[in-house]
Symmetry: C2
Subunit: 240 residues, 2 copies
Amino acid sequence: MPNPTAAMLVIGDEILSGRTRDANMHHLANELTHAGIDLKEVRVVSDDHDAIVAAVKALSGAYDYVFTSGGIGPTHDDITADCIAAAFGKHIDVRDDARALLQAHYDARGQELNAARLRMARIPDDATLIDNPVSTAPGFKLENVHVMAGVPSVFNAMVASVIPTLTGGAPLLSQTICIMRGEGDIAIPLRALAEEFTDLSIGSYPFQRDGVYGSNIVIRGTDGVRIDAAATQLADTLGL
Amino acid sequence: MPNPTAAMLVIGDEILSGRTRDANMHHLANELTHAGIDLKEVRVVSDDHDAIVAAVKALSGAYDYVFTSGGIGPTHDDITADCIAAAFGKHIDVRDDARALLQAHYDARGQELNAARLRMARIPDDATLIDNPVSTAPGFKLENVHVMAGVPSVFNAMVASVIPTLTGGAPLLSQTICIMRGEGDIAIPLRALAEEFTDLSIGSYPFQRDGVYGSNIVIRGTDGVRIDAAATQLADTLGL
């Protein structure tokens, strides 16, 4: 059975303007790979209602799981929760379970749960909350979409709590073979290898180090024995 | 007149598996911002023909400029050029102008222009070449799509040669105000500011440093005088 598929939606003008370098995509990609879930697509869109709604609909329909990052804080530019509700035609308002979490959090710190902070308790009907052990304001899951924070420490904590709830497949295994020859020198045997081992994905990533060309050959798949066989055959062919 | 819009398409299994952290998106985002071109969307897709063709068609139709990264080397997993040709219904084969560049490059190094390397001269009809000062194998532009390498040093060099050929708009200016208060404490005056300065984009980015909450407020727009006015008003309102 093929692995379940996933997509990620990163929401944030700050990524698209170059102000911030996204960190969450790389983290999620690694976690999903270990869980045996194939991340097939990532989209980054701006803090724009229509763009977010359209992307959520497209990705939710095309993949088994969707993960969003960003736009669930207390400020006016945090519109993700409302967009997710709109994408699924759900009513959204401050919800008692989320409000109770925030109330306890701010009470314990002697801070006011003001109107802005209360925005973080806006959760669509039928969504289930995602725990936020870092700063309390919860994420949520609606249909197959997991809505998480953009701040990396919070995003990572939410991913850690979500991953065990998902049905994964066979973890993706890989072997990397570093060859100190340019891609052009090894492309022909590499293609033959890929055509023989059609159950594996064989990628070639060139690099240049101190003026010398090299290639990292990455052999990926779910069957370690097959990966070993391909790696051995490549080494034999190239006389490594 | 609004600024031209742009999208980026990153092609590569290695990004989606978490093996490699993408560096090109952040670089392109900064360069486009300086050129007055609004990057509106980024997609990352795997080395899959149908996924690449679908994304190219969608982005090319929706935005003024599209930039791709990855998949134009000599190995079997480098399928971008063929996908771009398919997306626009163009014939593709080894083209004399690209072949001449590669022939000179490998002749000078005493290396053979073998069948694998010749794949890098596959250029769709009607495309114009994009110079590669780092390793010669050219990118190309077809319709509004600029096809560039995934290796960051080559990608950056190609971006540098492409940007001056584009019609830009007003560069996006920004001011960042660091406020040592949590977002929840400043969200209400911030929303009022955003509603007054509708020509500006006002973003709030929370952080935590040594256990203290703070917010970076980023005010973006094309009119420096307006940005100054908004920044001054925010500082007055918050008593900074």
